[in-house]
């Protein structure tokens, strides 16, 4: 399935510009809905965590049409998440908070195509991460 990378980029640009505190809004949503994840973020100060999150999201979207880069980057993300004890069900929590944040920031600019592009892109990212994790566990297994 072809994901509309142009829509992803345009809506992300809109989000970055429309809401100066986009990463803060994302973490506020995530932490209010799932407070059990808060202790997982103790290593970095909130400012550093937000910067890392914003950079990671923009880099992934910027490289969305570069499968080699994406596979390499997501494999690293998967290993980091494994180290920090991220559980599979948490990816859905993060995805909902992320897409809700982008949708909120885009306001009237948000379209069905944007919703579809973000959902599909996020699914592809999660599938890639989970496949790395299952590969690692079967190798150890």
């Amino acid at each position: 399935m072809t994901i509309d990378a142009r829509v992803l980029r345009e809506t992300l640009e809109h989000t970055l510009a429309a809401d100066d505190s986009f990463p803060k809004r994302f973490y506020d949503l995530l932490f209010s809905r799932h407070p059990e994840v808060i202790p997982m973020f103790h290593r970095n100060s909130p400012g550093a965590q937000r910067k890392m999150f914003a950079q990671k999201v923009t880099m992934i979207v910027d490289h969305f049409e570069d499968p080699e880069w994406l596979a390499r980057e997501l494999a690293e993300v998967a290993l980091t998440h494994q180290k920090y004890g991220v559980r599979p069900e948490m990816y859905a929590w993060v995805g909902d908070a992320l897409i809700d944040t982008v949708r909120e920031a885009c306001g009237a600019e948000w379209t069905e195509a944007a919703e579809r592009a973000w959902r599909e892109a996020y699914d592809r990212i999660v599938r890639s991460i989970l496949s790395t994790l299952s590969q690692v566990s079967s190798e150890r297994g």
Binding site: R9, E13, H14, L16, A17, A18, D20, R43, N44, S45, G47, A48, K51, A54, Q55, V57, T58, M59, D62, H63
Partner: protein, 484 residues
């Protein structure tokens, strides 16, 4: 005999084509970045029409995309694309013009040039370009590549960090000084360091000593202004036992103590003329001198590194002539692009010494102190401040900012604001300010006439009142009880 025209041509070194000075190209040097503080000091060259934005080049780029570079002598390294999330995929379009660079902002983070909101501006050396809450740049003209050092291999340290002597900076001016220090160190001749208070004369002396073949022995350092007039000679040359009074211990003096090493005398201009004359012999005659109360000469193999912040005519001309090398150390006016790096270095030192005092101003990554939280406004104001005591003054301003901070970041507090002056802002002609710019400034700066006038680069609030009248905006839009 061959006719003259048929003689084989010999290349004489002084007849080789001369090395012409490399042309200077405007660069945007990064001085603040929210997302990529480790890239401060990197420079974006603007030799031709160019695009600047986040990420790799795009097919729709209106001009070739330029990447930030780390510039070191004889080595310019192109770096990874900008990854700052707040910088748009295509944010700036740059175009050199006769007397500057035209810069157009296409990104959503708005641009300010010297504090004024602009979508399009012509910038020149020293101008400050802000992308709101994303990045701050200063415009600096440099050659495409910094010239090679005469003694390479001595300055290996991380980009943007302090070198092993504590000198911080990546500007052309600071690299020129490192080159001169390295060259002077290799020659074993006496050196005079010239520069205003706070430019780092002691660090320069340490560098000369550390790079010389005398570095195994400790540097002897003394401020000449602290030598009491009556005891200058005794302090410098030492004295024999029981001289001038019975019971006086034998002392080797600074010159004897520096045997095999380097003697650094700061504020040499404060040395009485008589003592300058007394030093002539030891500086000339292979280190021969006489201790007070001794008839036979002593010898000391030492190198004198002296420093002064006074005009050179304050020194006796024959004393001045003994200094083979004279190195002028630049102040912040000549290397504004280094201010942010020096500020970070000062903060790192404070953090190492007093983590409990400044820990709250740093981000943490993996439990460790990471980059400091410095507001872009502070950097912008420091870039415009006319420093007179340079690093010392910056250190004081930093402590003022730390001491008066009410939050978890270091910014322009009232106390800091009172100390900072504005040396480089160019006053706009009120006729150049459009109604839209005026309305934007009103929206951005609330009702304060001083802040609005400053943002628009107007000379004072009265010019602002004339503008408000011109565009039919009532003076009630601002708080200004004192105006009429």
């Amino acid at each position: 005999m061959f006719p003259e025209s048929a003689a084989p041509e010999r290349e004489l070194p002084w007849e080789r084509p001369g090395r012409r000075a490399a042309p200077l190209i405007p660069h945007l040097v990064l001085v603040w970045s929210l997302d990529e503080p480790d890239r401060i000091g990197e420079a974006i060259p603007i030799g031709r029409r160019s695009s600047v934005g986040r990420g790799e080049p795009l097919p729709e780029d209106p001009a070739p995309r330029v990447m930030p570079q780390r510039m070191r002598p004889a080595m310019t390294e192109s770096r990874a694309p900008i990854a700052n999330a707040r910088i748009g995929r295509l944010h700036l379009l740059l175009e050199p013009e006769n007397d500057g660079v035209r810069i157009r902002c296409h990104g959503r983070a708005p641009m300010r040039v010297n504090g004024q909101s602009r979508e399009d501006a012509v910038v020149r050396d020293g101008d400050v370009v802000e992308l709101h809450n994303a990045a701050v740049f200063i415009v600096v003209s440099r050659p495409k590549e910094l010239p090679a050092l005469r003694a390479a291999g001595q300055w290996e340290f991380a980009f943007g960090a302090a070198d092993r002597f504590g000198i911080t900076g990546e500007s052309e001016a600071v690299w020129r000084v490192r080159d001169e220090l390295g060259f002077a160190a290799s020659t074993d001749r006496h050196v005079l360091l010239i520069g205003e208070s706070g430019v780092g004369k002691e660090l320069a002396a340490r560098a000369i000593h550390g790079l010389s073949n005398r570095s195994e022995r400790p540097l002897i350092s003394r401020n000449a202004a602290t030598l009491p007039d009556a005891l200058v000679d005794a302090e410098l040359f030492g004295n024999a036992r029981n001289y001038p009074n019975a019971g006086m211990p034998e002392r080797s003096g600074l010159i004897g103590g520096a045997n095999g090493s380097t003697l650094f005398l700061d504020e040499i201009g404060e040395l009485p003329e008589k003592s300058q004359v007394h030093l002539l012999r030891v500086l000339d005659a292979a280190g021969e001198y006489q201790r007070l109360g001794e008839a036979r000469p002593s010898h000391s193999s030492f190198r004198l590194v002296a420093a002064t912040n006074r005009p050179l005519d304050a020194l006796k001309h024959d004393f001045l002539a003994r200094f083979t090398h004279r190195i002028k150390l630049p102040g912040f006016t000549e290397r504004r692009e280094d201010i942010a790096l020096v500020l970070s270095e000062l903060l790192r030192r404070v953090a190492a010494g007093s983590p409990s005092v400044v820990g709250r101003f740093f981000e943490r990554r993996n439990g460790q102190l990471a980059e400091p939280r410095i507001a872009p406004d502070l950097i912008v104001r420091l870039l415009r401040h006319p420093f007179t005591h340079h690093v010392r003054e910056l250190d004081r301003l930093l402590w003022l900012a730390i001491g008066s901070a009410e939050d978890d970041y270091i910014g322009v507090t009232e106390a800091v604001d009172a100390e900072l002056k504005d040396a480089t802002v160019a006053f706009s002609d009120a006729a150049d300010v459009s109604r839209e710019q005026l309305l934007a400034a009103l929206r951005e700066h609330g009702r304060s006439p001083t802040r609005i006038a400053k943002a628009l680069g107007l000379k004072n609030r009265y010019v602002l009142h004339r503008l408000l009248k011109k565009y039919g905006i009532g003076s009630s839009a601002i708080d200004d009880a004192g105006s009429s």
